[in-house]
């Protein structure tokens, strides 16, 4: 059960058409080493689910430049010129989701919920084409779970079993996505032996993680 491998070996398991859950927030804590390795792969028609599709400094934009991405779901695309262009060219290719709803939908997928009822987005475009439901006199949008085929995750520390620690504000979507994808690929700043990472500092259990690679220096 050796999970430690190169980024190239890890991303070799990504297929055309896959839905990729990509952790990170703007230019921080995004799995840049895995995305860099993915750039070398000959896959296309990928769906990127991430908070913000990154910035001009991150590699999601390069995946888009290479024509590998056909769909994106995000809360914010203002820092990625190409995601903005995708939305203009084909409005159905980009789904904008309120940030809490994106987090809850990914969590719902990981937690086995069939859906969640949310108030956020009522009376806005975020409610378009969605079912609403009245419960005890209040109206809610029924939001459905959002699954991925593969999660691309940043961790500050990983042990060799795949237990992960995300320091500070790098937890964001990196902690949620490993539960919601079939295959979980992780890049870690530091890879340590099992037991070196304190149990109370583990944010994602190794049982969920399939591949760990060393993150390249920024």
């Amino acid at each position: 059960m050796d999970k430690v491998m190169s980024a190239e070996q890890a991303v070799a398991r990504i297929r055309s058409g896959d839905v990729l859950l990509v952790g990170g927030f703007l230019q921080r804590g995004s799995p840049e080493t895995l995305l860099g390795a993915l750039l070398e792969r000959d896959v296309k028609d990928l769906t990127i689910v991430s908070n913000d599709t990154g910035t001009a400094d991150t590699k999601t934009i390069q995946l888009m430049e290479k024509g590998m991405v056909s769909h994106a779901k995000a809360t914010y695309i203002g820092a990625n010129r190409l995601a903005g262009q995708m939305l203009i060219d084909d409005p159905s290719s980009v789904e904008l989701v309120p940030q809490g709803t994106l987090a809850e939908r990914i969590r719902a997928a990981g937690a086995g919920l069939g859906g969640i009822l949310v108030e956020v987005g009522l009376g806005t475009v975020a409610a378009e084409n969605k079912d609403t439901l009245e419960v005890d006199g209040k109206t809610y949008i029924l939001e459905k779970p959002l699954f991925g085929d593969v999660a691309l995750i940043y961790a500050t520390i990983a042990d060799k079993q795949g237990n992960l620690h995300m320091k500070g504000a790098t937890k964001n979507f990196n902690c949620l996505m490993p539960l919601a994808a079939d295959l979980v690929l992780v890049e870690a700043e530091k890879i340590v032996e099992v037991g070196e990472l304190d149990s109370e500092m583990i944010h994602v259990p190794g049982a969920l993680v399939d591949c760990i690679c060393q993150r390249e220096e920024d």
Binding site: L26, T75, K171, C175, L176
Partner: protein, 217 residues
């Protein structure tokens, strides 16, 4: 004192000691420096921090600690870090006492448009929809007009961020509450008349029973 400083100073009088507040990008981030000395607040950054401190000193940056704009910040002693689901649990569960944010348009029903201008590139709503629906109080901090054009309307024309959520608007001219009657002017900045505010507003303004001069400390 420029318009932004007036707004930030007045906004800094809103939180009570112990409040959990969230600050939008831009002007709202000027609020903490003007807080009264006896008011200690917990500042949330929705990307995953409760207890945001000032910018790091040079040489003391840790890139793992950043705010929702992607800028490096510090965490105060007693700060907590969490994932996005927990962060928005705090927001949507009603645990944020005040969210301060800017606006493109606000109307007299409390509707807010703040996330896109039709015909322009669409940046996305980020966490704004969540914040204005979930926070206990929504305080809009913005300049009263944009290049002379009003931002307070009888009805918003831009796509909405949320329906009927704004509680208070603080501008360099006035403090205006959104009530069942519509916009009610509660405070006027030093030297500003009710009519001045009316001229800069594209909606009916009501007078509070007692209008006071806007305090700035």
């Amino acid at each position: 004192m420029n318009a932004k400083e007036i707004i930030a100073r007045r906004a800094a009088l809103e939180p009570k000691d112990g409040d959990l507040i969230n600050l939008g990008i831009g002007l709202p981030t000027m609020v903490p420096e003007h807080l009264p000395e006896d008011v200690h607040v917990y500042i949330q950054s929705e990307n995953g921090i409760l207890g945001v401190g000032p910018k790091p000193e040079e040489g003391h940056e840790d890139w793992h600690v950043f705010d929702a704009g992607g800028s490096l910040v510090t965490a105060k002693p007693g700060a907590m870090f969490f994932d996005s689901a927990y962060s928005f649990s705090l927001i949507r569960g009603g645990h944020v006492d005040i969210t301060f944010l800017g606006a493109l348009q606000v109307d007299e029903k409390g509707n807010l448009a703040s996330w896109m201008i039709p015909g322009k590139r669409v940046p996305g709503m980020g966490g704004a929809m969540d914040l204005v629906v979930g926070a206990k109080r929504v305080v809009i901090t913005m300049e009263h007009t944009l290049k002379g054009a009003p931002k307070l309307f009888s009805t918003c024309t831009y796509p909405l961020t949320a329906v009927s959520v704004v509680d208070r608007i603080i501008t360099e001219l006035a403090v205006i509450d959104v009530t069942e009657r519509g916009f009610v002017v509660k405070e006027l900045a030093e030297g500003v008349t009710f009519e001045d505010v009316e001229r800069a507003t594209d909606a009916t303004l009501h007078k509070a029973d007692k209008i006071i001069t806007m305090p700035l400390a």
